[in-house]
Symmetry: C2
Subunit: 246 residues, 2 copies
């Protein structure tokens, strides 16, 4: 069972105060890039894995999606998502993506599957990717963002400042050691699953996807002006991938 | 013009003493992985970009390749390659891959293009990849290895040992700052061109390739027993990619 950190009171309170929680998609600096990978949703059926407060689900409907099925493990987040939504074509559903069955018998259900900063929590990702391949229609698109493997790898994921030179660097180690990482971000003991970039790419290729977009996101100058996230130039924080079902 | 470090006497002497120079492909720990990406070469026409001493060219012919065109910037290396070769179907050619024209007018010339640890030296890589796409036959395969972007990125590409904990890590910085890196490896002032993983992938996608294999090489236990290259588990050193012309 995936750790449900979003139902930890301290984590939830702090997460709720982030720009991306208050402003929605516009508060997520990587959103313009993710959005550029999403096809015209007019009339399409969409699945959102880890929907959080439902910002993407509502945006998808606002751009013409026919329906959105939005899955989330956290009851806290689902509850707020439902409060923010008045749309019978968005179906929110509580579910643990590490143990879910996306469909009992059906395949070819969705045109687009979207997942924002969720898949790096999952131990059973290979199984989920295989299911996504099954429920996507042929030619359907999977768009997802994750924490970048460079970001999740280190035993101690904090910038180091060299005492002599003052130079700052990201202390990369353990890159090839996949598995559990425990970090303190908003709350103590947040559990993630580190995988290499190669593992993500090969999961997709082996499941029968073709990679169509691949981005180690960083802000353009205009976005940097807004987010002032200079250290992301030293090492990537997000990996964005788009893939099409063959 | 690409720096021709292999014609630097000190570099050449030290490079010539490496396992991969003396033992050929079997002295290159990443070779078994690269080899697994190469199709059956029986009757195929092959282009080798940065052929060094010609180990790959001779291997390709020994497995049935119809012909190999092998390009190398270093006269030192070409001279030894010619000494080691007795095969009129291997054509060695001196050339700077940053300024080469692979063909004046023809396309669809080769079934397989191979390049080992060469492309990270090139400033004009986008132009070369586009040419490779042109000279490959439809369905043809490009297999290459490069120094991994995690390895080329840092301003100071040397492991750091934390004075207090003794922990060793790779001091990653400047990842998004593409361009020239100058390192001391075998000789002083070796020039490389750092690019992000995303840049390599997107160069291929935009040129009309489909990614088919993607590997951040590290040794399996048996290979580790032989090469004892334990630090490569902390951060990848090589990136291996196979791509097919659409």
């Amino acid at each position: 069972m995936t750790q449900n950190i979003y139902d930890n009171a301290k984590f939830f309170a702090e997460y709720s105060a982030l720009d991306r929680s208050i402003q929605g998609l516009d508060g997520a600096p990587e959103w313009p890039r993710s959005r550029s990978y999403i096809p015209d949703l007019e009339g399409l059926d969409v699945l959102d894995l880890g929907c959080g407060f439902g910002w993407f689900a509502r945006w998808a409907r606002s751009t013409g999606a026919n329906s959105v099925r939005a899955i989330e493990i956290s009851e806290n987040m689902l509850s707020r998502a439902r409060d923010l939504t008045n749309d019978p074509k968005i179906i929110y559903e509580q579910g643990d993506l590490d143990n879910i069955k996306l469909s009992e018998h059906d395949s070819d259900l969705y045109d687009v599957v979207f997942s924002s900063l969720t898949l790096h929590y999952l131990a059973n990702l290979p199984e989920l990717i295989q299911q996504v391949q099954t429920v996507l229609k042929p030619g359907g698109t999977l768009v997802f963002s994750i924490e970048h493997p460079i970001y999740t790898a280190p035993k101690e994921a904090k910038f180091v400042t060299d005492a002599v030179s003052g130079r700052e660097y990201w202390p990369l180690d353990s890159y090839q050691k996949e598995g559990l990482r425990v970090t303190d971000w908003l709350a103590e003991g947040v559990q993630k699953q580190h995988r290499t970039t190669a593992s993500y790419v090969n999961l997709l290729l082996k499941a029968g996807f073709q990679i169509t977009e691949f981005d180690e996101w960083f802000p353009n100058p205009e976005e940097m002006e807004k987010c002032r996230w200079y250290r992301v130039l030293e090492r990537p924080v997000y990996l964005l991938i788009s893939a099409v079902k063959n």
